[in-house]
């Protein structure tokens, strides 16, 4: 690894001042599970590392129907939190699919979102849930919807002097949620990942549906035509199968060195159907 200057600020204000001063020459270190491999391989050479681990940015707060997740919340906390298992179980379900146990010990939600891997579980789930991110810099704060945060492959609207400090997620009580993915080996990034959020009204018809995919484009993508195929309908097995076929028709995944576009396309339908089927059955139980 190249040598760099290392600073460990104790307050958020200090951290933001350092980022304001050093801009793109600085890199913020949270769990390090994406940044350190990049440094080990000398793919990036930041002049200064700003270690965020001393900041009080962890913690899960459930307040009514809103959940606030501090940016330094570790993946293992999402997995183990009983409070989240009740208020928003898809967070734990998705966290269990991330990397390996060591990644989940240290990896953080803010780091995962800022890294923005197009097949990452948390970016996908945040888009599916309609989460919003709080971004802070020395001279201000803004809130950005997850759907607007990711702009392309490993790219977000985050400026070099900004930090993700909090993620606000709506609770999903009364809804059904599920996440599915297929990876070549356990712990690999998914070839295709999908998150489904469904609710049904008193007549047993779908009144809210969100189906979001990872691994099929440069950022998490919603399959809107598939959602439209469900809304207002009774979520029968046939209807769910139709929605999954619609998702396949509406998304154009790419080939890469490991997976062909045709296989990804097949996975869009199969995994979409599995995720919707589970989400629908949970929604019916909850209704």
């Amino acid at each position: 690894m190249h040598s760099f200057e290392y600073v460990a600020p104790e307050t958020l204000d200090e951290a933001l001042a350092l980022l304001a001063e050093h801009g793109s020459e600085a890199k913020a270190l949270a769990g390090g599970q994406s940044l350190i491999p990049v440094l080990n391989y000398r793919l990036a050479r930041p002049r200064i590392i700003v270690d965020l681990n001393g900041l009080r940015l962890g913690g899960v707060r459930v307040e009514g129907e809103q959940i606030a997740l501090g940016a330094l919340t570790r993946h293992c906390v999402l997995e183990e939190s009983a409070e989240l298992a009740g208020a928003c179980p898809i967070l734990g379900e998705a966290a269990r699919l991330i990397g390996n146990v060591r990644v989940r010990t240290l990896g953080t939600i803010g780091g995962s979102l800022a890294h923005a891997d197009p097949a990452g579980e948390l970016p996908l789930v945040m888009v599916a849930l309609g989460a919003s991110l709080t971004l802070r810099r020395a001279r201000g704060v803004r809130r950005v919807a997850a759907a607007d945060f990711f702009t392309g492959y490993l790219t977000t609207v985050l400026e070099p002097d900004e930090l993700v400090t909090e993620v606000e997620v709506p609770a999903t009580r009364g809804k059904g949620t599920a996440v599915e993915e297929l990876a070549r080996r356990v712990g690999d990034f998914a070839m295709v990942a999908v998150a489904a959020v469904v609710s049904v009204d008193r007549r047993g018809r779908v009144d809210e549906a969100c189906l979001a995919y990872g691994g099929v484009g440069p950022r998490p993508l919603r399959a809107r035509s598939s959602e439209d195929a469900l809304i207002g309908q009774e979520p029968t097995a046939e209807r769910v199968a139709l929605a999954a076929r619609t998702a396949r028709a509406s998304l154009q995944p790419q080939s890469d060195a490991f997976v062909s576009a045709a296989y990804r396309s097949l996975l869009v339908e199969v995994l979409g159907r599995r995720a919707l089927t589970r989400a629908v059955s949970r929604a019916l139980e909850a209704a």
Binding site: Y41, R102, L106
Partner: protein, 156 residues
């Protein structure tokens, strides 16, 4: 920079460059060779140590971020010169061949068993999914962990 942490129960203070990973610090600065370097990207599990009781890839931890924390390597399991019973189970079940993955396997299994003391074989398999072994085919490792779990149950 000066960094202090507890290594296998003993406080240590060292002077290292901040860019040095915990793995390098253990091996090159402190001469503790039971964490191995495999992939350097957190995939293989050979460099696993427990940080405050939880498994981490020491190749993905900058040494200064371990300050004030408890680091456990496999040699910290030894008690009065005796192997930990899980290590004994690895020996008795032929779960060690080249030995490169063994420290990571043992530490990961112990951290998992802290949270889930009575797992079945499938749960053990899932818990060790992030630790790669190129010798044993994993079956004997699962045998060893299972035997350790049922041995503890027999002890009461």
């Amino acid at each position: 920079m000066i960094v202090g942490f507890t290594l296998n129960g003993r406080p240590r203070e060292i002077d290292v460059p901040p860019s040095q990973t915990l793995l390098r610090t253990l091996r090159d600065t402190l001469g503790v060779f039971d964490a191995k370097e495999g992939c350097s990207e957190g995939v293989c599990g050979a460099c696993t140590v427990l940080l405050d009781g939880r498994p981490v890839s020491s190749c993905l931890v900058l040494t200064p971020t371990a300050r004030g924390r408890r680091v456990l390597t496999v040699r910290g399991l030894e008690r009065a010169g005796d192997l930990h019973p899980l290590q004994t189970a690895f020996v008795e079940h032929g779960a060690v061949q080249c030995g490169f993955c063994t420290p990571g396997m043992v530490l990961t299994a112990l951290a998992f068993l802290e949270q889930r003391p009575r797992p079945d074989r499938e749960e053990i398999r899932a818990a060790l999914a992030g630790n790669l072994c190129r010798c044993t085919g994993y079956a004997k490792i699962l045998d060893a962990v299972e035997a350790y779990v049922s041995g503890r149950r027999a002890d009461g």
